[in-house]
Subunit: 220 residues, 2 copies
DNA sequence: ATTTATTTTTAGGCTAATCTAAAAAATAAA
DNA sequence: TTTATTTTTTAGATTAGCCTAAAAATAAAT
């Protein structure tokens, strides 16, 4: 249950890649890890023999549950440390990444749980990315129209579930992009349209069809 | 100006050993590092070629100024993290060492200086050992009878220079232990006895013989 | 459906930090 | 002062994580 910093970095990188492509390729990981493809293959064999991922040569790979669990814990540590650096040590949000890359490999479970409590269980890091809780559950993105957290809670756009130029044009026109912070102001039962407030803008309304395509997460 | 965790550990261990014996031996370091003597010799050659210590084969070794400087910075980091763990994350003083062994190798200078400020520039770690400041200066323990800092400055017992049961009984009776905070109230020139104030206690007086055995450091 | 290009893997090396076993130097003892 | 003991160093391996260069498998193009 103890992995080298390097292995943890691989698991984390694979985790991020496999949310985009369900099968990850050697080359993609080589780019992400800034390493040569041959090195990736070496490490894949080790991670496979430790039963952290499924992998068949020439066919790509993906984490299994065990691998995901570890990756998520590393991500949790990374984001909690970033939060600590910004909110307690007065770092700028743009200068915390490198330091967190080191801190995320400290192994004490107690350390990270106490840190979490000390920080009051934050749900988003300084870049707005969700911080998984100690059981590994993310403050997971939800469709804007199905949002269950209360009105006026700050939310942040994490993805758009359609890449058709029609919806992108619409969102672009309303200045809604990945990362945009917004709040729900009102839901109209008549047509399930939603009134939103984006910072420094007049309130805008989106239809149910649009809201279905926008994924947001809690961002308090 | 960047050294591996392993090298930092060697420098730190040598630093501690050379306060006791001015020339450190391969075997002594092997014991301290829990490694075989052959491994020590290997590393000594590397550290020598990096100009961190003086070393002649078969003759022992000691850190030069550059080596000491690095060792002290590692010790500073270790002790600041211990302080953080105890005072902010509610660790017990007896469970912080291992975690600090990892944290001390994080390389960001800014991190450690911001942490220092966040903690309000503490001068002693949870074990009562002095924390060097950012320039590397120690708040070093002094014999209670030779104390040069002003009256009523809070001081903290860092060690007792004798383990005979006679003196331990006396100190125990007066509730003076390692870690006890006290202030000097008065020095009597007649017999060099000293009047002390320990928190929540009536003032007490100790003889010169006792004061000589008590080492304290500044603890404001 | 071959040929060509790309991707991935294998084969063999390198470095840091460790180890064991054996040789050499220093120290202690007879 | 020679011999024995202890300490230290050398010599040669090992492991993790990376590399380059070449071979093998897959994918793309004609």
């Amino acid at each position: 249950m103890k992995y080298s910093a390097s292995k943890e970095d691989y698991l984390k990188a694979i985790f991020h890649l496999q949310t985009e492509q369900s099968m990850v390729t050697t080359n993609a990981l080589a780019v992400a890890m800034q390493a040569r493809p041959a090195s990736i293959t070496d490490m894949l064999k080790k991670l496979k023999s430790e039963k952290l991922l499924i992998y068949e040569r020439y066919k790509g790979f993906r984490l299994n549950n065990e691998g995901k669990k570890i990756a998520v814990q590393v991500i949790r540590k990374h984001r909690l440390w970033e939060y600590f650096l910004v909110h307690k040590l007065k770092f700028g949000w743009d200068e915390v990444h490198e330091v967190a890359e080191e801190l995320e490999h400290i192994t004490s479970k107690k350390l990270i749980d106490q840190l979490d409590a000390f920080l009051n269980f934050p749900v988003t890091d300084p870049h707005g990315d969700p911080i998984p809780d100690r059981s590994g559950k993310f403050n997971s993105p939800k469709q804007l129209n199905l949002l269950d957290f209360p009105m006026n809670t700050p939310a942040k756009v994490s993805s758009v579930a359609s890449q058709t130029s029609d919806i992108l044009e619409l969102l672009d026109h309303k200045s809604i992009h990945i990362g945009t912070r917004l709040e729900i102001r009102k839901k109209f039962l008549f047509d399930n349209s939603i009134e939103l407030k984006v910072k420094n803008q007049a309130p805008i309304t989106v239809s149910e069809q649009v809201a279905q395509k926008i994924f947001v997460h809690n961002d308090e």
